[in-house]
């Protein structure tokens, strides 16, 4: 695999910020928060379907970053990936702690507007979002749905199979095919917009 998706800004800056946070630099943490608050919060609201829960988890995440910034390893990925993974993991934990997955799913089913698009709060730097949204839109519906259930609902492959009434093997195939396609689409489009970044 050779695709390398270029993040929204120079990752080295964020690496330096994380190193500064590890040294106890409050200003660096504040800058990191300013940089990532929107993307992380948006993801949290989509997963938790509650602004209140999302704000609570966002706070937990940055307190964890404050304590664990020294654990960040550039060999294990970029700051963007580290922060998103950490945040999503916290959100999924929160869903499971609350035992509220069914409640949240019910709530989402009743109110599709829960994924409220607040166009006015869209940031100017939305190219990445457009690329990902466009790439996902190009996936066949069943693949996109499978990926969304995994990513935003935190369901395991067996749970997805049960929810969709689809054989487990089919779910696994859809997921893998969807991810491969997504990788191809992101690689092509991100590179075309942001310049050559493959290696």
């Amino acid at each position: 695999m050779s695709v390398r998706v270029k993040p929204e800004r120079e990752p080295q800056l964020d690496v330096e910020l994380l190193h500064a946070v590890a040294r106890g630099d409050e200003e660096a943490l504040a800058r990191l928060y300013d940089q990532y608050r929107v993307i992380l919060f948006s993801m949290l609201v989509r997963i938790l379907k509650s602004r209140e829960e999302a704000e609570d988890v966002l706070q937990e995440v940055f307190l964890q970053v404050w304590k664990r910034a020294k654990d960040f390893d550039t060999e294990r990925g970029r700051p963007f990936t580290w922060l998103v993974t950490l945040t999503r993991s916290r959100a999924i934990d929160r869903i499971r702690q609350l035992g509220a997955r069914q409640r949240l799913a019910d709530s989402a089913a009743q109110n599709p507007a829960n994924e409220a698009s607040d166009a006015a709060t869209d940031t100017l730097h939305s190219e990445q979002r457009e690329i990902v949204t466009r790439a996902l839109a190009e996936l066949p519906e069943e693949q996109r749905r499978t990926l969304n259930l995994a990513y935003y609902e935190g369901l395991t492959q067996s749970e997805i199979a049960e929810q969709l009434g689809t054989p487990l093997g089919t779910v696994k195939t859809r997921m893998r095919t969807g991810m491969i396609k997504l990788r191809e689409l992101l690689g092509e489009q991100v590179n075309s917009l942001l310049g050559p970044t493959t290696n």
Binding site: M1, V3, R4, G24, E26, E27, L29, A30, Y33, D34, Q35, R37, V38, I39, L40, F41, S42, M43, V45, R46, R51, A54, E55, L58, Q59, L63, W66, G77, T81, V84, T85, R88, A116, D118, A120, T121, D122, T123, L124, H125, Q128, I131, V132, L136, L147, A150, Y151, Y152, L155, T156, Q157, I160, K172, M175, R176, M179, I180, L182, R183, L186
Partner: protein, 279 residues
């Protein structure tokens, strides 16, 4: 399972959607397979990019404040429990507590000189109270004076900027753009006046207060390209003024916007839009 089977699990592992049994099996394989470990990192990056698919939302300003307050409290608590100063203070407390346990000899006032000493002490206390009261009055006056001076400076600066805006507006070829508040700042408004050379003056009102370390930043957007302008901080009433120069390429048919950014300004916008002009 063989190596290829494990490879097929990697993308699902990046989505943390594998069932427990597959997760355990893959974890064991990853401990000995550098190739799969490296590939997993790349899949995790692809998975992380899915975060961009969520509708963009802004957390409330209080979250930032709560985070910073908590880490400061933690830091101070940690320093307090370990600092040498605390050790000194502790030992002082211990010494004082020992002093307090000393027996006090009872005294009786039985002479004129004793009464005189009491009177002198009372006079001294009264004198000290008077001096303290005067010092307080003086301090209050000084603070008030400093505040008035600051207000006067601000008013003068504002007048100067308004004069400059007026000059701009009356210059040949002057143009104006109106910026409306988005739904996170519905009462905010701004006007951007600029001359044909691009010298511009922004006047905004109704903007929300900015958190510490943050400021509003002006952007010039032309054909999707966002060019950074200067930053400004509104006063307590939400009014702000800014002088800037519009890049030549943005003089025609550009969109102007205001976002919330770190105080030092950024080269690419990161925050939410508070004000935006019509396209």
């Amino acid at each position: 399972m063989v190596h290829e089977d494990y490879k097929e699990l990697l993308s699902a592992r990046a989505l943390t959607t594998l069932d427990a049994e597959d997760t355990r099996a893959l974890e064991i394989h990853l401990q000995t397979c550098a190739g799969c470990s490296a590939e997993l990192i790349e899949w995790e990056q692809i998975a992380a990019f899915m975060a961009h698919d969520a509708s963009t939302l802004e957390p409330s300003l209080e979250v930032r404040q709560r985070i910073l307050k908590t880490i400061r409290t933690t830091t101070v608590a940690s320093e307090t429990s370990q600092s040498p100063t605390n050790l000194v203070e502790s030992s002082v407390t211990r010494v004082e507590s020992k002093i307090l346990t000393f027996e006090r000899h009872p005294r009786t006032v039985s002479s004129v000189s004793g009464i005189g000493a009491i009177a002198a002490a009372l006079a001294l206390i009264a004198l000290l109270a008077t001096i303290f009261s005067l010092w307080q009055q003086n301090r209050t006056t000084q603070t008030l004076l400093a505040k008035q001076n600051t207000q006067l400076d601000e008013t003068n600066a504002q007048l100067a900027r308004q004069r400059e805006a007026l000059t701009l507006l009356t210059s040949p070829g002057a143009r104006m753009a109106s910026l409306s508040g988005t739904n996170i700042a519905p009462t905010a408004q701004a006007m951007l006046a600029y001359d044909k050379k691009g010298h511009a003056m922004l006047m905004a009102k109704g903007l929300p207060a900015v958190p510490n370390g943050m400021a509003y930043q002006l952007w010039f957007i032309k054909d999707g390209k966002k060019m950074p302008g200067r930053v400004f901080t509104p006063d307590s009433a939400g009014n702000g003024m800014l002088e800037d120069d519009i890049p030549d390429v943005a003089l025609e048919a550009a969109v102007f916007a205001i976002t919330l950014e770190p105080k030092s300004g950024v080269q690419a916008p990161t925050g939410s839009i508070y004000l935006v002009s019509a396209t």
